[in-house]
Amino acid sequence: MFDLTGRRALVTGASGGIGAAAARALHAQGATLALAARRADALQALADELGDRVHVTPCDLSDPASVDALPKAAADAMGGVDILVNNAGVTRDNLFMRMSDAEWDAVIAVNLTAAFRLARGCLRGMMKARWGRMVSITSIVGTTGNPGQGNYAASKAGLVGMSKSLAAEVASRGVTVNCVAPGFIETAMTADLADAQKDRLLSAIPAGRMGSPEEIAAAVVYLSSDEARYVTGQTLHVNGGMAMI
């Protein structure tokens, strides 16, 4: 089950906690990888750890030219892109009344617009191949909302709407488009939270603990697999029961 031998996956934000875990998990199932993120040194370290079948394709997702170049760079390195994992995401939290246009724009640009451009860039090859998988990492807050994260929640909800629309367009071509919505996961993004904030969040999780990046990665592997071919336009919530949607 979930054998990805011969599949070629482009993973953005691959230097981060969830991105690196997704890359490791896809690689473990046999996929060839193109790792994208800003920090080439971090990507190279991950590539060295994984060994063969791994390419490093650095990209700054806040730079449109860099985004547009990425699908081609990944396809050149791997011979094509069968699986796109839109994982890269940034936060610029602020209360709504204080949120600047720059904070709004920066988050939408990386989390949503870059994902759109990458999906568009990878689509042609997938359509021709009559096989493709797109998996975007969203967030529970895209569904529930979260104070201080108007921009981030909007970007994640935007990914869901984008994915559903694209899923409807390309389902007949063997291309599926889905989202994985993590809840409260142990990563650098959540390490900054104050202990009191963590305690409050944990009390709202029926599973009684934070999730691990590997638990998100497993969902990415499933949705990337041939076995998930009849699943499209969906969001798989991985959150320990924190929200049941």
Partner: protein
Amino acid sequence: MSDIADRVKKIVVDHLGVDEEKVVEGASFIDDLGADSLDTVELVMAFEEEFGIEIPDDAAETIQTFGDAVKFISENAANA
């Protein structure tokens, strides 16, 4: 001209799975050959690759029939 028409016809037949004799000058991809909007995008992509040309979106919209496609490609393909 006939070479271009043959190559275009082959792409249309392969992609839409229609009988060759249905692919005539005035045959509309959507109305006569059963294409949906995504098929028309894929056909344009296939023409671009076959003939090594770029078909801009506004030009692509004017390519409604087999004859339109042959005409556009004849006028724009360098290696045809």
